[in-house]
């Protein structure tokens, strides 16, 4: 059968950086001793100036490894890494986040700090937990407690529960309060009945238990990495010496998106640098839910010798600025007074059409996009299609429509569960078949699917026919019989070519079962390398599937490392493999493809990008055309609301004793929406297309605050 629908992606290009303006040049070429705080709105050219600064330093002969590019999040690195890529310097300039820095440092100074930090086995190396392995450890500790009745008043699925406890620990670390205060802070500020408030004590209990477990087994989740770094590594004189001699120049971009812990570090460290450029976006703060503290970032200006402001926009037309102001006013006041005039240039920035049903709106979006690409010659990478959330349904419907119109499209969702990838399911089904001792029951349907993916040209009908004759399942144990043993008539129907490929796969799996059991990650790597990537098999030249296989191998490997470190008894290979399969199935292991995302948000691939609005903003990349979908959704306005954690109450700016009520929720929501709308408009060169449907995909009428505000704006525009 044909390969699964694959995204059509155009050629990969790295656009050359624009020439610097006079103001940008002054910042970039400031003396090698300058400490500059650069601020301005989005689109003013700040990051371009930052990249210019980096190139200038290198051109001045500064050794690449002595320049530290510090960022709040890896996705923001693209402009810098692309520039370095062009200079073939990519490996030599450290581009780091606080987390990356902390991990490197803790690893380096481990023997000096492990004991002081309370680790039970300073003599053994540290094991760093990824988000998913931390989730796994938390699941093991908290799962049984929930059975005992913890969190009775809370309705949340287990994975979300674990991630909220981790989130609280991380907040404590990056905001800088002891993790023992989590419950007290939440209880003091949030309304709820007694049972609900008690759930915060349950959070506290679980967080403490997790921390103890980590200390006992040398495990470091993100929160512990940051805390150990700040409290035990950074104060070591030898550590400070190392830092000040290694890094001489600092470029710290998107300060507004970073956490108090990062800001504190920057403030203490700044005097040690020879030069520094801190870049602050006035409209930022999109990562507040991850602990970003824009106010704390702004305060770093005091620690710099000079403050430079870049105003105006190099991206958006002037009318976009006034449009953004009108839109914010409409968001805050629900209406625009008749005195407000919407100019023709402002009106022309918005293209819209009302549709009754959701599919009609999607058709319109696809047609408009195709027109831009095919009729107007717009490079696809200059178009983004944004929605508050990118559901499976939305992604699929739109990708399908655009591909039909021959528009290259790629989508990105930062958190996509491994189990939703067909290639993952194929690999794990084959792993289960090769390891009968695991006792994992394989469904015939899964085997059929695995066949269609694993064997090139295997169609669904023949896969099913094959499965009917070779797949034997009894008492939960599954066996595959040889193609050579089946009736000749079936040989004909399935074809000898496909049968031969099946036989190759089967014998490989059977041999693997005979051999000494390999750890799952090594097994998967060999399955991929020795069979699936070979000609005649499904992953041959299928780069998407190869990427999934790589991610799966890495995830299984990290999982093994953690279990081996924390619970050697449980690390028996069969048990490990079985456990890993279960965790993927349950969604505990959800590997986030950060590495793929980095390249996907960069301007490289020439395809229309389909992404959540927030994710697009965090890629900080202007485009010519934006489509806003689901404009009526409340998702544009609402934050991720979780019952067991709270980004604002746990922030450094939250005053003690203040209650978080609906008034706060609403006011913060409006401000967030304004910031989002302004941020998007400032990253748009030409036009915004509004996808308006009166009913959403479920048939609900839509009336979120963004829609109401746009409606008011459009009415005013129509009035002239």
């Amino acid at each position: 059968m044909s390969a699964p629908p694959r995204r059509a992606v155009g050629r990969r290009v790295l656009p050359a950086p624009p020439p610097l303006t006079e103001e940008q040049r002054r910042v970039a070429e400031a003396p090698l001793s300058a400490k500059v705080f650069l601020e301005g709105p989005a689109g003013a050219g700040k990051t371009t100036a930052g990249v210019g600064r980096l190139l200038h330093l290198l051109a001045q002969g500064v050794p690449p490894h002595s320049v530290l590019v510090l960022l709040p999040q890896r996705t923001l690195a693209a402009p810098y890494t692309d520039a370095l890529h062009r200079l073939r310097h990519s490996a030599s300039v450290p581009v780091l986040t606080l987390g990356g820095l902390a991990q490197r440092t803790v690893e380096l100074f481990w023997p000096l700090l492990a004991e002081a930090a309370g680790f039970a086995h300073p003599e053994r190396p540290p094991v760093f937990l990824t988000l998913e392995t931390a989730q796994y450890v938390m699941a093991r500790l908290v799962g049984p407690l929930r059975e005992e009745g913890l969190f009775a008043a809370i309705t949340v699925d287990p994975n979300r529960l674990y991630s909220q406890i981790l989130d609280n620990l991380n907040k404590a670390a990056v905001v800088g309060f002891p993790h023992t205060e989590i419950a007290a802070r939440l209880q003091a500020a949030l309304p709820g009945d007694a049972a609900q408030l008690h759930a915060f004590s349950d959070v506290q209990r679980c967080a403490a238990r997790f921390r103890e477990h980590c200390l006992a087994h040398n495990l470091l989740d993100f929160s512990l990495q940051v805390e150990v770094f700040r409290r035990y590594a950074w104060p070591l004189p030898i550590c400070r010496d190392y830092f000040s001699s290694t890094y001489r120049h600092l470029i710290y971009d998107n300060v507004e998106e970073d956490t108090p812990a990062a800001h504190d570090l920057a403030r203490e460290w700044l005097p040690d640098f020879q030069s520094a450029l801190l870049i602050y976006d006035r409209d930022g703060g999109y990562r507040e839910f991850l602990g970003a503290d824009p106010a704390g970032g702004r305060a770093l200006a005091d620690a710099c010798a000079s403050v430079v402001t870049l105003d105006g926009s190099l991206v958006a037309p002037p009318a976009a600025e006034s449009l953004a102001q009108h839109l914010c006013r409409a968001i805050r006041e629900y209406a625009l007074p008749p005195a407000v005039k919407v100019a023709a240039e402002e009106r022309d920035l918005l293209v819209h059409e009302y549709h009754r049903y959701y599919p009609q709106m999607l058709d319109w979006v696809a047609q408009q996009t195709a027109q831009l690409v095919h009729d107007e010659g717009t490079p696809p990478r200059e178009i983004v299609v944004l929605a508050p959330f990118l559901s499976d349904a939305l992604r699929f419907s739109l990708v399908e429509r655009l591909e039909r119109l021959d528009v290259p499209v790629r989508s990105h969702r930062p958190s996509r569960a491994l189990r939703d990838e067909p290639a993952t399911r194929c690999l794990l089904t084959l792993a289960a078949l090769a390891h009968p001792r695991w006792g994992v029951r394989v469904a015939k349907e899964d085997f059929v699917q695995a066949l269609t993916l694993a064997i090139a040209d295997m169609d669904l009908v023949r896969a099913r026919l094959l499965a009917e004759v070779v797949f034997r399942s009894q008492d939960g144990a599954t066996a595959l019989t040889s193609f050579d043993l089946i009736r000749p008539e079936m040989h004909e129907r399935i074809t000898h070519v496909l049968g031969g490929r099946y036989e190759g796969l089967r014998t490989w799996l059977a041999d693997a079962a005979e051999r000494d059991a390999l750890p799952l990650d090594l097994f998967l790597a060999r399955l991929f390398g020795e069979v699936l990537s070979q000609p005649g098999y499904g992953f041959h030249r299928n780069f998407d599937a190869a990427a999934v296989a790589a991610a799966l191998v890495e995830s299984a490997q990290k999982f093994r490392w953690v279990v081996e470190a924390s619970d050697p008894a449980a690390a028996h290979r069969d048990a490990l493999g079985r456990e890993y399969l279960r965790l993927v199935e349950e969604g505990v292991i959800a590997a986030q493809y950060i590495s793929r995302w980095q390249s996907a948000t960069a301007a490289g691939d020439d395809a229309v990008l389909l992404a959540p609005a927030h994710t697009f903003l965090m890629a900080n990349r202007p485009v010519s055309y934006q489509f806003w979908l689901d404009v009526g959704s409340r998702g544009w306005f609402e934050r991720l609301m979780q019952p067991l954690t709270h980004p604002y109450v746990l922030s450094r700016q939250w005053p003690e004793g203040r209650l978080w009520t609906d008034a706060e929720e609403h006011a913060y929501g409006q401000e967030r929406l304004c910031r989002l709308a302004v941020g998007l408009l400032r990253r748009c060169r030409r036009r915004v297309y509004l996808g308006l449907s009166l009913l959403n995909e479920q048939g609900y009428e839509l009336r979120g605050p963004l829609l109401m505000a746009l409606h008011a704006l459009l009415q005013r525009a129509a009035a002239g």
């Binding site: 009775a152 008043a153 709820g192 209406a335 899964d446 169609d459 669904l460 129907r493 009913l695 479920q698």
Partner: protein, 756 residues
């Protein structure tokens, strides 16, 4: 504030005096009691439109309209939207129509964390809830094998006892738990609170203990799924309003006018939620017909809420007593029922089951005058008929009547689904045109779900030629209307059914391509099959997607009607939920689930099953079969009301038997009612519990509700009404007392043969 009606309303509608009085509303609290066919929903929709058009609202404000069922939501919204559109306004702004569940969902969605929910919380539908309860009921019985022995009939012989324990008790426990859990939620009793109160109780309350245990496990099961059920939604909405006054304040500002339709079915929590949203000095219009309250059993819903509201100080009272729906003889019969119940019902406690006013005919010059009395028929068939004979009589009558009245509408209404299904079978056997969507989900839901299910079944068994042929028929189903074209489709389907090797057609190899070998096919047929093959190949590729995406892909190819597409989105979501809840399910099980949806009634939250709800006028010349419950709000030229016997409409006489009383329980106890009484006691709502009282009270409640059901049934008819009864399976049941009384009051309407 101007109370004049906008021209968009006055220019199009000629309004009756009662309607004008309601539409003169300018604020405050207003209670309206209406009679069937008085246009109350219509009037309320006009009032909502008037408020939107009158400029009384700020841009961020809406009129909130609360009604009972989803189909009414659509009806309302369409009416208001129509008026706003004519005025050049965006048709979805300025108002919000919701069922209570929809409203509760909106409120909880505002701040899920406030009530302990993650923001991706799921809502399990009734079937999933029932599955969970089934498991828990079994588990509870296993843990307490003898706990209910004391309630069993002492006279049961040991053999039957075993059978009852094994076969009957699990269902009984589940049913007790289901209604008692719902009731406890209505009373805002958490499992923990119930448990604590039971510990403190000075009376043994074994049924309440049962409920408390199952309830706790049930909530834990939901919490673990990150889900709530429909009843939680309502309970949590009230909790949210109570926990954060700022939220309440914001919502009060958003909804300065609350219009409530079908207020006679308001429940305790609905009343509380709306009272909170309205506030002490707010604007609240409640419209209802206390005589049509038919959803009260085992809930706290009661027409008393509306009746008490009408008596409250400061509430303006209006009536909509005139109705142009029915001919005078039918109005007379309905009013006769009111009068008999209020003055002569043998149980004085049941005499308040129906309330005044009587129905009045409209003025003769009304744009919708009552059908002429002289051409109306009322037949009360009093002879004793077996169930089979009753069926036969009604079918005979329809067989005679239908051909002569192709332009009229007719319905057969039964008190229960299973009786309706028997009617459908009989009419189908006689090849009469039948519409049964009032018995189950609407036809469009079933067709769309059925089409998708057929394709899923093929994908699960791609090697089956029979399944493939079925998919072909689904793909070309639009041709059904054209007999000739459909014959061609059937012929092609037959050819596909005969495929020896499916893969030789769908995935041909160079040396073996079935389609190329079909020498007798003309070019068009060949092209048709090639197109079909392309499509199916694409679907095969889509089997790798998660099931919701798969369904959406299929839907894009199968449906064009927006409402079908919207439905597919909903079905996709339901299947995803099912897949998450049952990780071992694959395509065959998921296809089964879809078939279930295609067959059965499933409650969809906030989903428009059909754009306009059910419209009887679309089925002229066909027989609509439904339950009386489902027929509420609808009308037909001719109505057959069946099974009006003492079993389905008891009068509280000593000889009456009750559907909810089990033969294997001692003293014919109604354990659901007893469980609820024990919960009331535990919850502090009753001073003591005395066994058996609740059973008696439940009988009386049932008697009252069934009188109203009869009233609803009668008032569905415009011109002709035929009422029949049957003597039940054992031939022991008599006619409903009300029927006998009506026959005495209207001697001319009796008929020995039932041959109307």
């Amino acid at each position: 504030m101007s109370t004049d009606l906008p021209p968009a309303i006055t220019s199009r509608h000629r309004l009756r005096p009662g309607q004008l009085e309601v539409l003169a509303y300018a604020g405050g609290r207003l209670g309206v009691s209406a009679v069937p066919g008085s246009g109350k929903t219509f009037t309320l929709a006009l009032l909502a439109a008037k408020i939107v058009l009158s400029g009384w609202l700020q841009p961020d404000q809406e009129v909130l309209v609360v009604t009972l069922v989803n189909s009414a939501v659509d009806n309302f919204a369409q009416r208001i939207a129509g008026i706003l559109k004519r005025e050049g306004l965006l048709p979805t702004f300025g108002y919000r129509v919701r069922t209570l569940h929809g409203l509760a969902h909106d409120i909880v969605r505002e701040r899920p964390a406030l009530v302990g929910l993650a923001d991706d919380f799921q809502i399990v539908d009734e079937r999933v809830a029932q599955e969970i309860l089934d498991d828990l009921a079994l588990a509870w019985l296993q843990g307490h094998p003898d706990a209910l022995d004391d309630y069993l009939d002492y006279g049961l012989d040991p053999k039957r006892l075993d059978w009852v324990r094994r076969d009957k008790l699990p269902d009984l426990v589940r049913e007790i738990a289901a209604s008692a859990v719902r009731y406890a939620k209505d009373l805002e009793l958490t499992p923990e609170a119930l448990r604590q109160r039971l510990e403190a109780a000075d009376q043994p309350l074994p049924l309440a203990r049962l409920v408390a245990e199952v309830y706790a496990d049930y909530q834990a099961a939901l919490a673990y799924r990150g889900a709530v059920d429909f009843d939680d939604l309502i309970r949590l909405a009230l909790a949210a309003l109570e926990r954060d006054p700022a939220l309440l304040e914001r919502l009060q500002r958003r909804w300065p006018y609350v219009l409530e339709d079908e207020a006679q079915d308001s429940s305790r929590l609905q009343e509380q939620i709306l009272r909170k949203l309205v506030g002490p000095a707010g604007n609240w219009v409640r419209v209802g017909d206390p005589n049509q309250a038919i959803y009260e059993t085992f809930t706290t819903a009661s027409p008393q809420f509306l009746l008490r509201f009408l008596e409250e100080e400061g509430v303006q009272r209006r009536e909509l007593p005139t109705s142009g729906r029915s001919a005078q003889p039918i109005i007379g019969l309905a009013n006769g029922l009111i009068s008999w119940v209020r003055s002569a019902h043998p149980r004085p406690e049941a005499r308040d089951a129906l309330a005044l006013p009587y129905i009045q005919a409209v003025e003769p010059d009304d744009p919708q005058p009552n059908p002429p009395a002289e051409r109306a028929t009322v037949r009360l068939v009093l002879n004793k008929l077996s169930p089979e004979m009753e069926l036969k009589r009604v079918a005979d009558s329809l067989e005679r009547w239908l051909p002569e009245h192709p332009d009229q509408t007719v319905a057969v209404l039964a008190p229960r689904n299973d009786r309706g299904a028997q009617v459908v079978d009989e009419l189908r056997r006689r090849k009469l045109a039948v519409v049964d969507s009032l018995l189950r989900s609407t036809a469009s839901t079933r067709q769309a779900a059925g089409a998708l299910a057929n394709v899923l079944v093929h994908l699960a068994e791609p090697q089956s030629a029979r399944r493939l042929a079925e998919v072909y028929r689904v793909w070309r189903r639009a041709e059904r209307e054209d007999e000739e074209a459909w014959d061609a489709v059937e012929a092609m389907a037959k050819r596909l059914r005969g495929l020896p090797q499916v893969e030789a057609f769908l995935w041909p190899r160079p040396y073996h391509d079935w389609l190329a070998e079909q020498a007798d096919l003309d070019e068009a047929a060949r092209e048709d099959l090639a197109q079909f093959r392309d499509l199916v190949q694409r679907w095969h590729g889509a089997t790798l997607l998660p099931v919701d995406q798969l369904v959406l892909t299929l839907a894009q190819d199968l449906f064009t009607a927006p409402s079908d597409l919207a439905l597919a989105y909903k079905l996709a979501g339901l299947l995803r939920q099912a897949a998450d809840a049952h990780p071992d399910w694959r395509l065959p099980q998921l296809a089964d689930e879809l078939r279930q949806i295609a067959r059965n009634e499933r409650r969809f939250l906030g989903f428009s099953e059909d754009d306009l709800g059910f419209d009887p006028d679309r089925y002229k010349g066909k027989v609509v079969v439904g339950t009386v419950h489902k027929a509420k709000g609808l009308e037909w030229d001719r109505v057959y009301l069946m099974s009006v016997n003492a079993y389905d409409f008891p009068a509280g006489e000593p000889s009456d038997q009750y559907i909810s009383e089990r033969w294997f329980l001692r003293g014919r106890l109604n354990l659901e009612a007893e469980a609820l009484a024990q919960i009331r006691m535990a919850g502090g709502l009753a001073a003591f519990y005395s066994e058996g009282e609740a059973t008696l009270a439940a009988r009386l409640d049932y008697v009252r509700e069934r009188l109203r059901l009869l009233y609803v049934g009668i008032t569905r008819a415009r011109r002709d009404l035929i009422i029949t009864w049957n003597s039940g399976r054992n031939g022991q049941v008599g006619p409903a007392l009300a029927l006998v009384a009506l026959a005495e009051m209207f001697p001319d309407s009796g008929s020995a043969a039932g041959g109307a």
